[in-house]
Amino acid sequence: MKRVLVLTLLLAGCGSPAATSTGGDITVFAAASLTESFTKLGTAFEAAHPGSKVRFSFAGSSALAQQINQGAPADVFAAAAPANMKQVTDTGAVTATPATFARNTLQIAVPRGNPGRVTGLADFAKADLKIALCAEQVPCGAAAKKVFEAAGVKAAPDTLEQDVKAVLTKVSLGEVDAALVYRTDVKAAGGKVEGEDFAEAANAVNDYPVAPLAKAPNAPTAKAFVDFVLSGRGREVLIEAGFSAP
């Protein structure tokens, strides 16, 4: 135990010149939809930057933005929508220019076997099908609204869920016949939910911005983490999770 600690200290002390300015702990506030991919990225980042430690706080982007504006000691903010990033740039909590690191598109999610025989966006108007959407107040709901408007479909949802996970719960339990969620969410749900791409999804591409915070307690490492997310290695992990490159 002690030996490992000494080794770590040594490594931290005599790393490459680029790494000397980084290290230590950073706290990353990230949208809940980034939970899997960012956890992976964090591990990779820690391996590439010895001596650094990344802590995550995953939650709804809006809640995170509010926490940041209330002075939460975070270093990096990765939001699920530009609007949430705007909440923090408006108050000056973020002064750097946010960079888009990933895109997410909607997919039709159906329970395994597709019992409702849902084949396209038009099926969302059928009254006899049970449909779940995200509430308009949350990003996936806002995106769904845009998609339906573009397609000219009058959706008949039975429920407007508070977040994507809640929608997926209902799809995986078979309580609804179809829902609109992000591709990454379908991917994360594993085999219990099937995803179908649809053309109108292009109308609501969701950009994920990331930026270091103006008052980041550990600014150098925060900057390094943002760079890492935007790097090829970061992209690889994100695409694996179902995101597309910006």
Partner: protein
């Protein structure tokens, strides 16, 4: 003569009171008073508020109808495994409400153990309906009633029931005319707790019944979703919920107290 209150009690009592009331004050201080009236009388708020009050009240009725007999069974019967049963009754208290909602879906959902037959045989589907909201709220709130009434029943002197029996009263009449009036304070306390819990219910409701304005969007759901985009509106909604519940409870309390004693 009133004796002086001991500091060891008063100090923590005051801290406790402050601890409970300060967050409330925080809400009030941050309330956007200028837009409050407009928000208050908006159609959505009215709809959510009405739905909340109706559902919480119906859930309370369900809890009373089922919970009081259950409390009686736990307190008075010599059922084997009564201790285990009593512990199980409190499960909804410790279960995160969202998990409770999922559990309800697994049983009463369209593909649930029971729900699939409700759907096939009677065409009844509870999720995403107002009935579903009532059910979810009742599930989470019932333990408050059961525990409260059972405590009162266990503290009550069962010899009054014997006295009623010697006067020729059947067990049902005894329960109605002697046992129940005897534990009325416990029933009332339990009902208040139950109603308040149902009114504030969020997790199980949104998980089991979903969220659709006018049908399943109760105030807590509206508050939560408002918080996503418009924290001011969320504060307003919270204050409305708070004021209404306090008004209802205070009103009932006065009525009970001024009633025949």
């Amino acid at each position: 003569m009133r004796s002086r209150l001991p500091v060891v009690l008063v100090l923590p009592a005051v801290i406790g009171l402050v601890f409970l009331l300060v967050p409330l004050a925080g809400l009030l201080i941050n309330a956007p008073w200028a837009t409050l009236p407009a928000q208050l009388f908006s159609q959505e708020v009215g709809q959510a508020l009405r739905l909340s009050l109706i559902c919480a009240s119906l859930a309370t009725v369900v809890c009373l109808v089922l919970g009081v007999p259950l409390a009686w069974l736990l307190a008075r019967s010599d059922l084997p495994g009564r201790g285990v049963l009593r512990a199980l009754v409190t499960v909804p208290l410790v279960l995160p409400p969202v998990v409770g909602g999922v559990a309800l879906l697994l049983v009463l959902g369209r593909r649930g153990v029971v729900g699939q037959y409700l759907d096939q045989w009677f065409g009844i589907s509870l999720p995403f309906t107002t009935a579903g909201v009532v059910l979810a709220e009742a599930f989470v709130a019932m333990p408050f009633l059961v525990i409260s009434v059972e405590g009162a029943l266990r503290a009550a002197d069962p010899r009054y029931e014997e006295a009623a029996a010697t006067l020729g009263a059947s067990r049902w009449l005894t329960f109605r005319r002697v046992t129940l009036p005897g534990v009325m304070p416990g029933v009332i306390a339990g009902t208040v707790l139950c109603w308040a819990r149902a009114l504030g219910e969020f997790g199980a409701t949104i998980t089991f019944a979903g969220n659709f304005p006018g049908r399943t969007t109760t105030m807590p759901l509206a508050v939560y979703l408002a918080l996503e985009t418009d924290p001011d509106a969320a504060i307003v909604l919270s204050i409305v919920l708070l004021l209404v519940s306090v008004a209802v409870l205070a009103g009932l309390r006065d009525k009970w107290i001024s009633g025949p004693s």
